[in-house]
């Protein structure tokens, strides 16, 4: 009979190892390096000034240490802060691709042509990704949606960038946000004009148009009055990156009656079985519900990275605005996650919902940390928080740190938490019906995450559910 820990092991299926190109700055950070970055990107002067201010502020800051994660000290002078866009090695057919990687794609149900793209295979004429991407781009621009790289946006829409950059996450916000502001290389910009419902899930576009993930990425999404956008970041396909530290910043702005749905599926390299290697994912994500009746929803499925440290948050300024946070975080082997959200209620009748599902296996250490803050003027604010932890095996851990600050009498804040294990009884019950241990664990874990998955865009919910299975799967028998 297999106990849960005997099949929670699944080797990381290789991502992509990309050789560095020559156009790279030497290691280390200084004002000169920042000037060079800005110059190479041909940025307007306001950008350089902003970067320099961020850098000078960063110098005065200390690396935070309050999280419930442990890692060796990072040497910030040992990092290369600029390198030209990398090229993937081109292969001629899927036969040249690593077998294990293909198996993973298969399990995740990724279509054949997309497998080729992800694995860096030259794409044949039947499936021309460039033309598909162009079609999408035309559709978007017809609707008036701006969706481009951050660099392009700086060149083509400097007024919008100047107006919104740092308006949600100022460079003074925290150590990593300051560092990101000083050196960020690229990212995405998205602008939905008044009254426009973005004609497609922006995920679709992404999945065709391979967006390289940078070490210091920056995303800015602005939804004008009455607009709607659903944006998906990441991919369930495993990604390996040579950069260990990832410090991204995401800013969302929702004006009156606008709605932004931001979904993340993160499956970066998490290190080996002994906990060596893996990505440090220290991210600042925040949305601002500026206008009345606006809404921001964060949904995240975090299965990768050695350390995940992030709190996608919403500042609810507009009256009747809504913030939602749905999260699944999986920690296997020696993975650590300190994640959660902050819901800051400023306006009247603001509402927030937090559903967090943490899964720990092997030596995984999963922490939920959340703040619900209701300011004095946020009359009749409502919050509902639910934090559930599922433990597989006996060497893993789950922690919950809910912080609640309510500064008026008319608001209601509710918190529920639970910790459970996959019981031997549950496993036996499934097996007695003919279901294998592996499928049983899968089923139970997916059932546990159901409330979160149903907030993901349809096709991604299916992938996320398979991803959990692959991440937990191992040697049964």
């Amino acid at each position: 009979m297999n106990k849960p820990d005997s099949f929670i092991q699944q080797e990381y299926k290789y991502g992509f190892v990309t050789p560095m190109e020559v156009d790279t700055l030497p290691k280390g950070l200084s004002e000169d390096v920042i000037r060079l970055i800005s110059q190479k990107k041909n940025e307007p002067s306001f950008m350089l000034e902003w970067r320099l201010k961020a850098y000078r502020h960063w110098l005065t800051m200390k690396e935070p240490s309050w999280s419930h994660v442990h890692y060796p000290k990072i040497d910030y002078q040992d990092i290369i802060y600029y390198s030209a866009p990398k090229k993937k090695p081109k292969l001629n057919s899927l036969e040249e691709v690593d077998k294990e990687l293909l198996t993973t794609f298969e399990k995740l149900g990724i279509p054949l042509e997309e497998q080729k793209r992800l694995a860096g295979v030259a794409v044949d004429a039947v499936f021309d990704s460039v033309s598909v991407a162009t079609t999408f781009k035309e559709q978007l621009s017809k609707a008036g949606v701006i969706f481009c790289s951050f660099s392009e946006a700086v060149q083509n829409h400097p007024d919008l960038i100047q107006k919104y950059l740092g308006s949600v996450v100022p460079y003074t916000d925290n150590f990593y946000a300051a560092l990101n502001a000083a050196v960020f290389s690229d990212g995405s910009f998205c602008y939905i004009p008044k009254g426009v419902r973005c004609p497609m899930e922006l995920s679709t576009y992404f999945r065709i148009n391979a967006a390289e993930t940078g070490q210091f990425e920056r995303t800015l999404i602005v939804a004008e009055e009455g607009s709607y956008v659903s944006y998906l970041e990441g991919c369930s396909a495993p990604l390996r990156d040579t950069n260990q530290l990832h410090a991204a910043v995401v800013e969302l702005v929702a004006q009156e009656k606008a709605s932004i749905k931001y979904s993340t599926v993160q499956n970066w390299y998490s290190g080996d079985k002994e906990g060596k290697g893996g990505i440090y994912n220290f991210v600042t994500k925040r949305g601002k519900c500026v206008g009345r009746n606006s809404k921001i929803t964060w949904t995240q499925v975090e299965t990768g990275s050695a350390i995940t440290w992030k709190y996608p948050s919403v500042i609810l300024i507009g009256d009747d605005s809504v913030g939602e946070f749905y999260s699944v975080a999986l920690c296997n082997n020696y993975q650590q996650a300190d994640t959660g959200t902050k819901m800051i209620h400023v306006g009247k009748n603001t509402r927030s919902t937090i559903i967090s599902k943490g899964i720990s296996a092997r030596h995984g250490n999963n922490t939920y940390r959340g703040l619900v803050k209701v300011l004095p003027k946020a009359q009749n604010a409502r919050n509902y928080t639910q934090c559930d932890s599922l433990l597989l095996g006996s060497d893993c851990a789950a922690n919950t740190f809910p912080y609640i600050e309510v500064q008026n009498n008319s608001s209601k804040v509710g918190h529920e938490a639970s910790t459970s294990k996959i019981s031997d009884e549950q496993l036996f019950y499934c097996k007695q019906r003919g279901i294998s241990s592996e499928n049983a664990v899968n089923m139970i874990v997916n059932g546990f995450c159901k409330e979160v998955f149903r907030n993901l865009p349809m096709e991604f919910a299916v992938e996320a559910s398979k991803l959990l299975g692959v991440s937990l799967e191992g040697s049964v028998g």
């Binding site: 036996f428 019950y429 059932g447």
Partner: protein, 253 residues
């Protein structure tokens, strides 16, 4: 079909079964009766492969194969079904999803093609009517917030869908009112066939009015002390387990 030879079983060092021998042929229905703590539920769970128990001695053959060597899921795929006394809850997993996964694993093991969602639902709805269960049950999570009676009926529903060769019912009557008992028994009786054997574990004779057994065995302190026809159940009803104990004691002295 099933042959149990001198089976000894313990849990956490405590000996529960002390040499059970029992043969169940194809198509037969055997009732195993006994007071609380006699080991009847242990017998049911050990046959299904519950890892909490340790077999210390004896053997069990199922269709001539060594059953004790098989993992629980293999036993299930070979056609052994245990209707649990306390069915567990699996939050977030819908009843249909669970049962479809189970049925397909069993079908694959038999070399049959898997059923797709539509085919399965058709079958499921048919069986649902058979056991007189509510449609809404399909969408609810497995056993979650089910009443005691619903849980038991759900076990019978699963059994009806999986069509086992050997069905073991572990105190399926406990906690049921008379109407629910009748429905459950009707479900079980529909499954009686010359190819299917059953082992009905129960404390009370009441269930056996509806599921009439071919043989009755009385379990006391880990041993089968008496076997007989269905009349033995009626005798137990009249005299109680103490009566059997007394008659055994006087026979010994």
């Amino acid at each position: 079909m099933l042959e149990i030879k001198n089976l000894h079983v313990s849990i956490e060092g405590v000996q529960i079964l002390k040499g059970i021998s029992l043969k169940i042929n194809k198509g037969e229905v055997h009732a195993v009766m006994g007071p609380n703590g006699s080991g009847k539920s242990t017998l049911a769970k050990v046959l299904a492969g519950d890892p909490a128990y340790t077999v210390t001695k004896g053997e069990v053959l199922f269709e001539g194969n060594n059953l004790l060597k098989m993992e629980p899921e293999m036993r299930a795929r070979e056609g052994i079904f245990l209707a649990f006394q306390y069915p567990v809850e699996i939050p977030g997993v819908s009843n249909t999803y669970f049962l479809k996964a189970a049925l397909n694993e069993v079908r694959v093991a038999k070399g049959l093609p898997e059923l797709d969602a539509m085919e399965f639902l058709e079958l499921f709805n048919k069986k649902l009517k058979q056991v007189e269960m509510d449609q809404t049950l399909a969408h609810r999570s497995v056993n979650e917030s089910f009443s005691g009676g619903e849980k038991k009926r759900n076990e019978i529903l699963q059994m009806t869908v999986l069509e086992p060769r050997l069905a073991i019912l572990d105190e399926t009557d406990s906690g049921l009112d008379i109407d629910a008992l009748k429905i459950v028994a009707a479900g079980v009786n529909q499954l009686r066939s010359p190819d299917r054997s059953m082992m009905v574990v129960t404390h009370y004779q009441r269930l056996l009015n509806y599921i009439v057994p071919d043989f009755v065995h009385v379990l006391l302190e880990g041993r089968i002390v008496k076997s007989g026809s269905k009349d033995l159940a009626l005798q137990l009803e009249r005299e109680g387990y103490d009566g059997v104990k007394d008659s055994l004691a006087s026979a010994k002295s």
